[in-house]
Point group: C2
Chain length 333, copies 2
């Protein structure tokens, strides 16, 4: 941790909202700066049951990333993974489109057994994080099942079928979150967002439509975020109108939304107090109707992640100071 | 396959009853001689749920043994196995007393998912056997859960807790089979035992109390065996009053039964037409009140297994010829 990064550490807690790989990179940067003062609220809309096992891809990516177990080359799953289970599964005619590594399976088997015993996903993930030595809190957005369904001209697809099996090739004409009507924000998420010493809420550069929207769609979540006495800062997932990885820009185009930081700002309008955009999109900053910070948002190295996390926290601090000097924020749209 | 072994092949089907490792060795010998004419009725009293997974140790041992996937050194599980799942499980605080290999897991995960979908264990195992290229029928004794419970002075233990976790160290004062009252013999087992061209029923040298008794305790099984128009031959699991492997002799002593082939004959009295004993126990043959064949029953090599299987089939053929020339067998005791 550089001396410069240390300057971003201040009193108070931070809540980050994130999905999988891209968002988890910034979460790691924040974790390096904040340690136990960080709570990561993770999308569970990608969760699904596969071969009878309860799989939580985004939660596990955050667990692996924050505990330095993530595979750095592949971008998902555990490092030094082996695939002997999958080979034996294939031999038996089992479905192999979703790649389950031998080590990775331990999370799925333990989670499935604990859920069947009636434990909450929050408690299960807290136990995993503790065993992995993670001091930050990793919080599933809800303990109730919410399932992202991608609507395409060919029909509806459960998220993983669209994302992994279909490689995001189908055209997205809509996204819906099954189960959301009867779901609640998990208790630890409520506690994190109501913490009296909350200093910032960060929306990580995950896919707004597929990874952040399920979090925001969870009943009560937006109210909790808006009611929090801390600035809300989003980091744009776009760099020069394109996504670093994944289908964000493709989906925005398919949903008739321009793949621009302005569209990201509109998407989060009423919820965020500021947007961090990449230098490649700096020309659009004048068009944004909210405070904006320009950074180098591509996170290739861990140093990049920590630097961006520090800049995001500085930006949030600045917004908080400005808010103190200004009239209260208006009601969210 | 030696020319000598080939001489044992005759018309008709054979049903073998067996448990795990020891019994599976003879089942392999029979399979080499009989191919698709062999049906193996396997003990499922050892089955248990572990980490939410449905595990059938004896069935899987037979699957691995007959498909040449069994680990020859260790005596259980798959060859060329890896243990990365177990390592990750340990890291997460999961139970590791029952060793689940990465490849082995594929059977448990697929079986659990299929059972949850409502498929029968018989159908599931038939699919596994087919994928493994096994031509013989591998038949769970029942599709209903029957669970062997070992009664000890310290209390009752589910079989795997006694056998694997406790390494058979507890004193056995009784054995019971939970669920047996409401269980039925599986349909494929009924069909195998009623086959018009059945030429022999072989009780493999598995533990009579822990591996064969659950099969015989399944309601209807003894009647089916006694009604079959084929000789029933058991192979003693004892060699010179000791078990080759496992707790057979220890349990017999604890149950106040002498560890002798005579006691084995008494145990199976009324059910079997003949007993195959080892040369080391030949001195006791005069004390046996039923036809007896003396063989070298230790199966170290595959050649041993095929040779013993051939001798068992020859003995059964001889008993069948004698029965044709003699009055019908009396009713079983």
């Amino acid at each position: 941790m550089s001396g410069d990064a240390l300057s971003h550490i201040g009193p108070g807690r931070v809540v980050a909202l994130c999905g999988g790989v891209g968002g988890a990179k910034l979460a790691l940067g924040l974790y390096r700066l904040l340690g136990e003062d960080l709570s990561v609220v993770v999308n569970t809309g990608d969760d699904f049951e596969h071969l009878g096992l309860a799989i939580s891809p985004d939660v596990d990516t955050v667990l692996y990333t924050l505990s330095e177990r993530a595979d750095k080359e592949r971008g998902w799953g555990r490092e030094a993974e082996s695939w002997n289970f999958l080979g034996a599964l294939s031999e038996l005619g089992g479905e192999t489109w979703f790649q389950l590594g031998d080590k990775d399976l331990a999370l799925h088997v333990l989670r499935s057994a604990a859920l069947a015993r009636g434990e909450s996903l929050s408690d299960i993930v807290a136990s995993f994080a503790q065993h992995f030595g993670i001091k930050a809190k990793i919080l599933p957005m809800s303990d109730d099942p919410i399932r992202t369904v991608v609507e395409t001209p060919e029909g509806n697809l459960p998220f993983q079928r669209y994302f992994v099996e279909g490689r995001c090739e189908e055209e997205v004409i809509g996204v819906r979150f099954d189960g959301v009507d009867t779901a609640c924000v998990s208790k630890p998420v409520i506690a994190a967002l109501k913490a009296p010493d909350l200093r910032a809420i960060v929306i990580c550069p995950s896919n707004p439509f597929l990874s952040i929207d399920p979090i925001l769609a969870t009943p009560g979540m937006q109210h909790l975020i808006r009611s929090a006495k801390a600035p809300v800062v989003a980091v744009s997932p776009l760099i020069g109108g394109a996504a670093v990885k994944g289908p964000t820009a493709k989906i925005m185009t398919e949903l008739k939304v321009p793949a621009t930081v302005q569209a990201i700002a509109v998407h989060y309008r009423g919820l965020i107090d500021g947007l961090v955009i990449d230098q490649a999109d700096a020309a659009q900053r004048e068009d944004l109707e909210l405070p904006c910070s320009v950074s180098h948002t591509l996170m290739t190295t861990e140093e990049d992640r920590v630097r961006l996390a520090g800049e995001v926290l500085d930006f949030a601090n600045k917004l908080a100071l400005e808010a103190e000097a200004a009239p209260p924020r208006g009601a969210a749209s």
